[in-house]
């Protein structure tokens, strides 16, 4: 059932979480927006369309994955022989993530929880977070979710999807957590539903890029030795910006340290773009060449995760395109790969 939340009603709903100190929402920083724990509900620009007009980007810089897979987390600590209690995983509510991030969350859940040995921390964090997504009515020119199987009004991976219409939001519960959140709100009218559908169609119309994912997979299956990788990556500086801001990138390292006598083991993000990522203890590095590292990323998104889990893990959020200091565009890489494959008759 689709419900309608007036702007004031949504504000009241979120205010409850703000009071409990557990709401995270996009907050404007200079030139973009980031996730912040909100201390006053007035800090939150409910209308994401309004936020964009005020200078925020269509999506936050940090992906929503930080709520289930943070930049770093302490796995355990001990002093001498005594284990030290590390913090409990808090209950959080995240407002304002986009359908692409939602889809990414679903992917991360599959990767960490539904795929062999389960990662208890990711599972716990996902259970304790409520994801209130907001559909995109105005995708950016760097967005391409429809090209990779997603959409600006998709609800996969979210608990609730809100779709902005006149006066408020259409709300769709996706999970039982979402249903609980939306109880008590009036049913949306047919008119409001139609309005949301129209906005969805308009948004989809702006997302012109199409990628034949099957052909791409086939091209990558045979593209390991292609000279294309060198050509595509002279300007890549091998920082970790693309991987760290990617909503589905999930590689991590385990880091041990002693902090003033206390031994601590942490899990931290790692990036296949770093030279050290593939460094062997012997000193050999199979991916010493920057082009090899870039190839790994593209292959992982469009081939390896397909082989492993049956799905492409790029969600088309466009963050890597926006933040790359070298201006590298994964859409261009994909187009080049397909073009080369076509030329070779593959």
């Amino acid at each position: 059932m689709k419900v309608f939340l007036k702007n004031e009603d949504l504000k009241k709903l979120l205010a409850r979480f703000v009071q409990e100190g557990r709401l995270f929402a996009p907050v404007r920083r200079c030139g973009y927006s980031g996730w912040d724990r909100v201390s006053s509900v007035d800090e939150v620009v409910l209308s994401r369309e309004q936020a964009i007009l005020q200078g925020e980007e269509v999506n936050t810089r940090e992906p929503a994955k930080i709520f289930v897979f943070p930049r770093s987390e302490t796995l355990f600590e001990f002093e001498g022989e005594e284990a030290v209690e590390t913090g409990e995983i808090p209950e959080l509510v995240v407002f304002g993530l986009r359908p692409c991030d939602g889809r990414a969350m679903a992917f991360l859940e599959r990767f960490f929880v539904g795929n062999g040995p389960e990662d208890p921390r990711v599972r716990q964090r996902r259970e304790k977070v409520t994801l209130i997504g907001v559909a995109c009515n105005s995708p950016a020119d760097s967005c391409f979710c429809t090209a990779v199987g997603g959409g600006p009004h998709e609800n996969k991976g979210l608990d609730v999807l809100l779709r902005e219409v006149a006066g408020g939001f259409l709300g769709e519960a996706v999970t039982s957590k979402g249903e609980e959140l939306l109880t008590g709100f009036p049913e949306a009218t047919a008119q409001q539903d139609a309005e949301a559908e129209k906005l969805k169609a308009n948004a989809e119309a702006t997302l012109a890029l199409k990628i034949d994912l099957n052909r791409l997979k086939a091209a990558l299956d045979n593209g390991f030795a292609s000279p294309i990788w060198e050509r595509l990556t002279l300007e890549c500086v091998n920082c970790g910006a693309c991987t760290f801001l990617c909503p589905t990138c999930h590689c991590f390292d385990v880091f041990d340290e002693t902090v003033r006598g206390r031994k601590r083991r942490s899990r931290i993000w790692d990036s296949c773009q770093f030279t050290l990522y593939s460094q062997h203890a012997s000193g050999h590095n199979p991916r010493l060449n920057p082009a090899a590292r870039y190839r790994n990323r593209v292959m992982d998104k469009f081939k390896y995760t397909v082989d492993m889990l049956g799905e492409v893990s790029c969600v088309g959020c466009g963050r890597c395109v926006r933040v790359c200091p070298a201006g590298i565009d994964i859409r261009v890489a994909v187009a080049e790969i397909l073009k080369e494959a076509a030329q070779d008759g593959r």
Partner: protein, 277 residues
């Protein structure tokens, strides 16, 4: 003939005569307002070369990547040329390996605004070059003045901590910097690990302070790091201050004069020591 036309013509000539194996410059990217680095090796591709206010990378960084291919031509503004001077002084490249196409610059524009490093630029024109593409540029540098220096120590620490708290340690700043070419950066050291790698404000602060210190006397304040940061951290705050300290204490500016070695590689018996007991 305008700068870009001249650049393309010269690039073509240098490649045809095989004086260089490639020309390092800029080209348009898939998105408006953003440029990419280009390494043109074929004469039919010289028309891809551009030069305008969207060119935000410091090409000296890429020189280190391509120097082994043979003699290379490189487009260089004031800041890039000073970085090249520093690399020459530090023996990372040889003068004979580079053909410098100098060009004056009026500043990099990002999202409609002049980059903070460019507003106070004192070196818009290259300090070394093999030839100039077009006229020198002259403009009044802005004085970067703000409240920061007048704040209390606690307030300053608070602001800087808040900045570096956003750092996700992607090292984009380090990777785009021509001075950061250590085979193993201090943050990647292990056995023993030097700086913690977690998302910790203290470690982030140490990373940024130490990187700024490693840049002392070498940083040309090009702003490439600042523009590369995906989290919008005010990196120029650190780098500008270190450059200022070096200028005021030792009268030196990184790369400004090829025969003046970087400040921390030389010393004078009468160096200031009022801060030492």
């Amino acid at each position: 003939m305008d700068k870009v036309a001249r650049l393309r013509q010269r690039a073509k000539e240098l490649l045809e005569k095989q004086e260089v194996v490639g020309v390092l410059g800029y080209r348009a990217s898939s998105r408006p307002g953003i440029s990419q680095v280009a390494f043109i090796t074929k004469t039919e591709e010289v028309d891809r070369l551009i030069f305008d206010a969207t060119c935000s990378q410091n090409l000296a960084n890429y020189l280190l990547k391509v120097k082994d291919k043979g003699k290379v031509a490189v487009v260089a503004r004031g800041c890039d040329s000073r970085s090249i001077v520093v690399l020459l002084q530090e023996k990372q490249i040889e003068r004979g390996q580079v053909y410098i196409l100098g060009v004056g610059c009026e500043g990099v524009i990002v999202q409609g605004e002049k980059s903070v490093s460019c507003r106070s630029c004192q070196y818009p024109n290259p300090v070394i070059y093999d030839e100039m593409l077009g006229e020198e540029v002259h403009f009044e540098p802005e004085k970067v003045e703000d409240e920061f220096d007048r704040l209390t120590p606690d307030e300053r620490w608070q602001i800087l901590s808040a900045e570096v708290a956003r750092c996700i340690r992607c090292y984009a700043c380090r990777q785009v910097c021509p001075n950061c070419y250590c085979p193993v950066c201090f943050v990647d050291a292990s056995m023993p690990a030097l700086v913690g790698k977690t998302h910790n404000v203290s470690d982030n602060m140490v990373f940024h302070i130490m990187r700024a210190l490693h840049m002392a006397g070498r940083c040309v304040e090009c702003g490439a790091c600042h523009r590369a940061c995906p989290m919008g951290i005010d990196l120029m705050r650190f780098n500008r201050q270190v450059a200022k300290i070096v200028r005021e204490r030792f009268g030196l500016v990184a790369g400004a004069k090829p025969d003046e070695m970087p400040a921390l590689t030389v010393f004078k018996p009468e160096d200031p020591q009022e801060f030492i007991r």
